[in-house]
Symmetry: C2
Subunit: 315 residues, 2 copies
């Protein structure tokens, strides 16, 4: 990390960017580092995609630029939480930087920067940025601390995932030394939902199907259920209700996207490999989480078909 510290100290103009569809870790990491650089009297430009509304409590978001045309030249480009060039919000930015620095925690990172710091033991890029700010001797301030808290709670599922380490909680204990409404921030990030979403969860759970042995649970939302529901309602997380039922080994979420066309997600609670299941239907993914699209079938047929496929493998 020392080469990065030197590069920051020895340069003046910085552009900070991250991946497409920024999440709490990318937004929080960019803001915390940007604010720290400003404290060192550096010039900071953020080139970031429009951030989801729930992160707007971070005031620094108002300084985000989504522009592709008016890019200047910068001494250093800092690319955070982005594992490869293709996934960068604006990869042409690399041509506008005399030096590129790639800071991340993803094991898949392709080390595309002139300098690279990839800590795969960090639960979030925010953990790495905390260290960096520390080594730059910039004292944590309220919004930096809120931004790093946002980064870490997002990527750890509120300290729930197995990527959490002793270091994660140690860092958060340091963030808490800077007074802030962490509890309110947590609520904004995790608990606030739109009325439409809550109603849709209700519909999904009313359509919850479970096999007699409790091993397979399926939530289905049909075109009928989704009528008059805004496209922007985020259906992420609905599958967790199916997954979290005691005894369930495989959870399925089916969303009818067009007449007799369904987008299907699978989750596994056990060693059952749902990537094979998705592959059978022409989709892909990982052992524990996968997905596919299934066409030319009715909603009744799709449930039966999927259960048949899963039960073949479960036996």
């Amino acid at each position: 990390m020392n080469d990065i510290i030197e590069a920051i100290k020895n340069n003046q103009s910085f552009v900070i960017s991250s991946h497409k569809s920024p999440d709490g870790d990318s937004i929080g990491s960019c803001i915390a580092l940007g604010l720290a650089l400003k404290r060192l009297n550096k010039t900071v430009t953020y080139v970031m995609e429009y951030a989801p509304e729930k992160f707007r409590f971070l005031n620094e978001i108002t300084n985000f630029n989504d522009h592709y045309t008016s890019l200047q030249n910068y001494d250093v480009g800092l690319f955070l939480d982005c594992s490869n060039i293709e996934h960068l919000h604006n990869s042409s930015l690399l041509d506008n930087c005399d030096m590129s620095i790639n800071i991340d925690h993803h094991i898949s990172n392709t080390k595309y920067g002139n300098l690279n710091f990839i800590d795969t033991c960090a639960s979030a890029t925010g953990e790495v940025i905390f260290e960096l700010i520390n080594k730059l001797n910039v004292p944590l301030e309220k919004e930096m601390s809120a931004a790093l808290y946002t980064a870490i709670v997002t990527d750890t599922g509120n300290f729930k995932y197995s990527n959490v380490t002793s270091r994660t909680h140690y860092i958060v204990s340091k963030l808490y030394e800077v007074p802030n409404s962490y509890s309110d921030i947590n609520t904004i990030i995790f608990d606030e939902h739109s009325y439409e979403k809550i109603k849709l969860i209700g519909k999904g759970l009313s359509n919850l199907y479970i096999t007699k042995d409790n091993k397979v649970s399926i939530i289905l939302l049909t075109l009928d259920d989704l009528r008059n529901i805004s496209e922007s309602v985020d259906l992420e997380g609905i599958i967790n209700y199916a997954r979290d039922i005691r005894g369930v080994e495989v959870a399925v979420f089916i969303k009818e996207t067009n007449k007799n066309t369904f987008r299907v997600s699978f989750r596994s609670n056990t060693n059952f490999d749902v990537s094979r299941l998705a592959a059978y239907y022409g989709g892909g993914g990982h052992m524990k989480a996968s997905g596919c699209t299934i066409e030319g079938i009715t909603s009744d047929q799709i449930i039966k078909d999927i259960i048949d496929q899963i039960e073949k493998d479960l036996k």
Copy 2:
């Protein structure tokens, strides 16, 4: 705390107990301290109410005794996480102890012990027990650590509530130094639900009512909805779905307990004082959380009546 350390060191037989309807903090605190005393070769008896199933991953629970008859005499009674004698699982235990020690974090604690250690800044009694074990020089072991993690995550709503401090996360960072499946424990405590409960949430959300200005949200479960649902299904938490809707100021959960008799819970997201609302109906509680029973009214009438009352005050 030094007097408590001395009392532990200078005595041999201990009984550990807590409040009625034990939660994660009381169970986790009792187990962690019990195991630490056993490492010091003390004799430990737990007198505890039957623990909820989700905490049974703590093996030490199998040593819990619910007995009222075969109490012996003990050198020291350790009463954890219990603010007053009336709330103790078995208050007659006090008569069987040469000395009673009361360790808690509730501000309402009545200091009923011969020795009392009440730390109202601690998010959980588990935080205090962590310090105590430290000062007794007992190294943390796997189940102690799991028990203290259980205590802290339960009483902080998974690190969400405003009682969380820098110290809370510091202690958890120390717990994580003892390898364990904290992520799995977290899932067991917070995410696993029965199929019945998930279906019931679905029914509740299908019956979700919200006022036009989005300020009041109401979830109603009628006798019809609850037919064939086991009494043991825990309805706690359903009101959160109503509370967590963006813009909602007052959330209400209504459960029909008998024909035209309703148990009602209120939650406030703002300065709206729901204890006054509950008092109007003959109930009680706090500013942010309260409840009452309303009789002799139909389910349609009760919604209208409650909204009228709330809107009178909101204006």
